[in-house]
């Protein structure tokens, strides 16, 4: 049996912890990836891209 199996999957609570930690990490990565794709698709059309044309320094 490999160490990954022994450390993560042998006991239920470690399995559950690994699953939730993985869900958290996946959520962060997926969100940032999708935001990047969205921003790339709408480059130059969003407020944060054209803000400097309208708002002077505060």
């Amino acid at each position: 049996m490999s160490t990954a199996y022994n450390v993560l999957f042998r006991r239920n609570y470690t399995m559950l912890g690994a699953v939730f930690a993985g869900a958290f990490a996946f959520n962060l990565g997926y969100d940032s990836l999708m935001t990047k794709i969205w921003d790339n698709n709408n480059k130059g059309r969003q407020w944060k891209d054209i803000r400097h044309k309208y708002v002077e320094e505060e």
Binding site: M1, A23, F26
Partner: protein, 229 residues
Amino acid sequence: MAPLSTMSRALARSAMKQATTVRTISSTPAVLGSSSTFSSPFKGESKSTKVPDFSKYIAGKSSGNALFSYFMVGTLGAISAAGAKSTIQEFLVNMSASADVLAMAKVEVDLAAIPEGKNVIVKWRGKPVFIRHRTAAEIEEANNVNVSSLRDPQADGDRVKNPEWLVMLGVCTHLGCVPIGEAGEYGGWFCPCHGSHYDISGRIRKGPAPLNLEIPTYDFGEGDKLVIG
């Protein structure tokens, strides 16, 4: 009569024995030989009834399989958990006020235009907001009240950010009328609907109202700007 019955019994017994032996033959496991070894008891069997040899496909050791299946279970569980979380989150975020609504929900007031000892009423989110530029005497009067004797005990310092400026929601805490400024027995506000008297700090002193006048969230901006909301 007797011999006939014994003979029939013996016949039946032998028939049963034969049946059981037939059954044992038919249920013998088919893994004895390396080639296809399931020998059917029936005559004229075709090739398609033979059970093939699966020994080639039997896993050598099961640990890798267990690791892989637990990994797949865990991965799919994690993805489902992330999906469920973001589904609920998006529904809840959908209900909250959007950025343009929040931007309209603020009111800016120029405090330099309000002389000392005067009230100003501004509209904020559909409700009146009282702003009073209090004099030093009024601040002292508000601070000299015995807090524990009040119906809704609250020190004046907890109700104002800057004691000079009293900012509060102009809605009577009794039934929601708008109190009249610089009136009442305590020199503060008086609600004409049912006769609640508020003092110079907006605290209820007499009448049916249960609570002090509410304080909205506000901030003193740059210079003489007051931002409510």
